[in-house]
Amino acid sequence: MTTKSLLQAIGEGLAEEMRSDESVMVLGEDVGRAGGVFRVTEGLQKEFGPERVMDTPLAESLIVGAAIGLSVNGMRPVAEIQFADFIPPAFDQIVNEAARFYYRSNGAWSCPLTIRVPYGAVHGGALYHSQSVEAWFCNTPGLKVVAPTYPADAKGMLKSAIRDPNPVLFLEHKRTYRLIKEDVPEEDYAVPLGEARVHREGDDITVVAYGLVLHTALEVAEKLSGEQGIEVEVVEPRTLYPLDKETILRSAKKTGKVLIASEANLTGSVSGEIAAVVAAEAFEWLDGPVMRLGAPDVPAAAFAKPMLDFFVPGEMEIEAAMLELARY
């Protein structure tokens, strides 16, 4: 075990998969010589050469489209979209193409393809380097959308994503790239897709969260436990689509009170879907309203820090929401 940041863990996962499987390759803007704008792919081109770690033209539809073509011809491409905000040109290739190959060909063609996407608000990121785009993709059957938050999970899930026969959108919260560090196993391991993780057990309320908000929620949960004896069960979906309903429902039925928190715009969000699942399938166990916490319905986080801080649910808002639900 060594302590690794999220971005180190992801980079290490890529390198290990490339070493063990020659068909694994990386393509995207600035992933080669520069090692990626966040340095996730640092050193890969040196080790694996300019074809397997390919700097592409600045054309997102091409990046994903070419990755699809690679994937149907024996390769396991990992495409990088530099910022989630720039993914819309590739939307057709992801949603209409990669996600549908298997279904529309009656199982003849599949796309074992991973698309790494840094997302989430950071200071200075502003409208086009901050967005949380997961909801756009979470009603796309055939696509898997994963958003691990912690380094060991991210490395293990990246390996699962690369080995998965389906297209996987792999969301990485860029604010947590260097913020979160933890021990990451040295040996080869994989964390399965489609399984939520219970970070903390508790019987007063359930908080379902991912990304930076999850990290904050876990800190608040510890605080509430110490100061007020409120025990919060914290569940991280890890895979946002398709959801691990079972784990979420098990926790919802246990506590009867559910808060779903993320920094995505609230309307039409993944949080809304989780809330609907809980309301429909755990109704008889509920002991309070299903609550959500998210960003206001404005386009994205602003450049100015006060507006950014207002946009992303912070410790105070998360604590207030948890207390409100606990006291309900």
Binding site: V64, A66, L70, N73, Q93, N106
Partner: protein
């Protein structure tokens, strides 16, 4: 009948049996297409999208591919390509009638959205132009592994208007990828004529991406065959992509749901019918004495029997059960 090498055949390195095979594929495509319209007008088939007028381009281009090795990204008119690669009339009618045995999609997709894992026909989509970046990626895989596979990707002239085509041409040019972009320019994008769609020339655009661009008479099957074969050979030899613009005319409406009388004159169609690639190749084969009344009738009769049998088979084939709509969303394993 005496078998002798024709002049055109010699130039194209084709034997007489190849020429007759090409003719048979073209005729089969035409007859399957015509029968599809009949089934549609009888209310037995929901939708038809047609290849009529494209047969020379499609059969000519596909004839020198290695089915199941080279990759093909066809578009929805490419019946002539898929038949040449090995799909059958039965396959086509199973797809037209949305039967469970439809090899393209088991009744999920509209007719014309081809797919075959065995023949390396990559599942086709309806949005126009999305196949080009994919084809470039598939070609990149061949190149990375040092294999001599080539990729043929096709579309109409309107598919060059969107970004995907340009992104793919650029990428193929940068890396010298073994991919052939075959543009089947049939003069109309549904109702919009070529002059409203294309500035300058399509073939001329290849120069901007540093790759060869070839313009070819799309009604001359041997000319298309020759251009395609040369392009494949360049690609296999590591000399990168080629753009082929094959010019023809769409002899039918865009689809069974389109009425082309709203936007083009009958006279114009009649004029192009005189240049029908099928008729043209027939005349050529008659000139070189490969085809006469006798073997022509024989070929026609064989194709008619094949089409009759295919329709009968498809009509009696079962449809998928409603619940099969839920299957195969995700690949396992």
């Amino acid at each position: 009948m005496a078998i002798k090498e024709t002049r055109a055949g010699r130039e194209a390195h084709l034997g007489d049996d190849d020429l007759l095979k090409i003719y048979r594929y073209m005729l089969l495509a035409r007859r399957v297409d015509e029968r599809s319209w009949v089934l549609n007008r009888q209310g037995r088939a929901a939708f038809v999208v047609s290849c009529q007028g494209h047969e020379a381009i499609q059969v000519g281009a596909a004839y020198s591919l290695r089915p199941g090795y080279d990759y093909v990204y066809p578009y929805y008119r490419d019946l002539g390509i898929t038949l040449t690669l090995g799909q059958t009339a039965r396959d086509q009618f199973l797809s037209l009638l949305a039967r469970r045995e439809d090899p393209n999609s088991a009744g999920r997709q509209m007719p014309g959205h081809y797919s075959s894992r065995e023949l390396n026909i990559v599942t086709a989509s309806a949005p126009v132009g999305v196949q080009y970046p994919q084809a470039a990626g598939t070609a990149l895989a061949f190149k990375m592994r040092g294999e001599d596979g080539v990729v043929l990707t096709c579309g109409g002239e309107a598919s060059t208007s969107g970004g995907d085509w340009h992104e793919a041409m650029n990428f193929a040019g940068i890396h010298g990828l073994p991919v052939i972009f075959l543009i089947e320019n049939n003069s109309y994008a549904i109702s919009v004529p070529e002059k409203m769609q294309i500035a300058g020339s399509i073939a001329g655009r290849a120069a901007g991406y540093g790759i060869p661009g070839v313009e070819v008479d799309g009604n001359d099957v041997l000319a298309v065959y020759k251009a395609a074969k040369e392009a494949f050979e360049r690609a296999r030899g590591g000399d990168g992509p080629t753009l082929i613009e094959a010019k023809t005319y769409r002899l039918t409406a865009h689809s069974s749901d389109d009425d082309d009388r709203r936007y083009r004159e009958r006279e114009e169609i009649e004029e192009w019918r005189q240049r029908d690639p099928l008729v043209r190749f027939e005349r050529y084969l008659e000139e070189v004495e490969l085809l006469d009344e006798e073997n022509k009738e024989e070929i026609e009769a064989g194709i008619k029997a094949e089409v009759d049998e295919a329709v009968e088979y498809a009509e009696s084939a079962p449809q998928a059960s409603p619940e099969e709509a839920l299957d195969l969303v995700y690949a396992e394993g």
